[in-house]
Symmetry: C2
Subunit: 240 residues, 2 copies
DNA sequence: CCAAAAGTGTTCGCCGTACACCCATGA
DNA sequence: TCATGGGTGTACGGCGAACACTTTTGG
């Protein structure tokens, strides 16, 4: 059914069309020190060189959007196989003051212990607590707002919290994370019941004693169990 | 902070970048005859000319994504101010066999009574029941699948069902719509309780007698009441 | 022995779900 | 009068929300 590619005259509906610059912008979240953090970078090109910006870049000719996102995140953090999800295509004509640039935003969750600190520092990047973000360029503040909304929406029904924690974590840590995401204090007993009843966590024979004399049990999230339950109609759900 | 635009040498990070064709594709849903329908069109350009396709088009140089979507839908249906929501940016390199084209998909809900039948017929468009769609070109089937998922997700928590019905509708009609969307039969009593308890519908002093001798009361959705309640922490919710 | 964090159960109200009969009316 | 679709109420179980005391142990 496809026409052979050596008949370019058939395709002048394509060739006559406007072409556009396309950027990727990444909202990278981390969790550290009891707070939800955003990774921002000092912009290295004009305009607004030196201002705080999301991590981003242009996409190349033969690169899918997802590949471009992977490349951009890898280059900055050294990380692969992290949680990444497309957020929105931003298409206002004047969103970039220099040229018409469309941007596809992605949000990503990373374990703050895992990234490559050297790469991040060398790039002039920094973690900011989401409660005290610096001014960001262009429509990046709007992107962050959208990403936060999405994170909060997804966080209720998908086990994405674990993407922000080390493989071994304690229940007080996990609760602290949800409290940071939703900016509210949760009841310890209800939270534990809620999380443990889903049967997705395995307690290890090891305690974290850095925060108390008694020590808190380490747990591990079991992704296979999650997949198995999900395929049987189970839905993850946290009451926040 | 912005650099003046008359120093193009500062911006060669922009000018050196690849530029891309960008299309919009619209998944337009309607509800008629007890079934959820999709509007598809016979493609009028090569390649795959004559095959069934979603409604779409390229975006212009000085046109935002949302404006382009409005233009495309208006041209085909004559409708404005309908429910439209961005779905996804599709960026696989080979999704279009002729050229690298990114597509931003949007899904739209229209009242089947309202559109301009002449425009649609003239364009070679047709409504298809979602349970018996024709083969669609490129990655359009995937777009439809995503749109259906999104419609079902949103439909549980936002009053978008009313976008698919005429301003005056009956409760049996509304139930039938939800049954069509979720492909399951619902309990009449529970459904009515659920919907009416939210206090968003106003019963009119008028009955629809086309389907029964007794007649079913007409209702109207009150969007102002919805906005008011929403701003006070109310959440729309249908149990399906 | 004490401070500081970890861990544990019960009660209550609401909401989702299951379920069966009467009503109105035109033909 | 009867066939057809429209309309109504109740009982039960599960889940989210509120709430206070005991346990552990290093210093």
């Amino acid at each position: 059914m496809n026409q052979p590619l050596d008949k370019p005259d058939l395709y002048n509906h394509y060739t006559g069309q406007a072409r556009h610059l396309i950027a990727i912008d990444c909202i990278i979240f981390g969790f550290d020190d009891g707070e939800l953090k955003l990774l921002a970078i000092r912009r290295q090109i004009e305009p607004n060189k030196g201002d705080w910006s999301l991590i981003g870049g242009f996409i190349n000719e033969n690169e899918s959007l997802n590949d471009a996102t992977g490349r951009i995140i890898r280059k900055l953090t050294g990380l692969e196989h992290i949680y990444v999800s497309q957020l929105y295509a931003h298409g206002e004509v004047n969103r970039d003051p220099v040229a018409r640039v469309l941007s596809i935003s992605y949000y990503a969750l990373i374990k703050c212990q895992a990234y490559n600190q050297q790469l991040i520092s060398a790039a002039g990047a920094r973690w900011f607590s989401i409660s005290s973000l610096p001014p960001l360029i262009f429509d990046h503040p709007e992107m962050v707002t959208m990403a936060l909304e999405e994170l909060r929406k997804e966080g209720r029904v998908k086990p994405i919290g674990f993407e922000l924690l080390p493989p071994k974590f304690t229940l007080p840590q996990l609760q602290c994370l949800y409290e940071a995401i939703y900016q509210k204090t949760l009841d310890k007993r209800n939270f534990r019941k809620n999380i443990l009843q889903m049967g997705l966590l395995e307690r290890l024979d090891e305690k974290d004693k850095t925060n108390s004399r008694k020590g808190a049990w380490y747990y591990r999230f079991n992704p296979d169990r999650y997949k198995q339950l999900s395929s049987n109609g189970f839905y993850f759900s946290v009451s926040v």
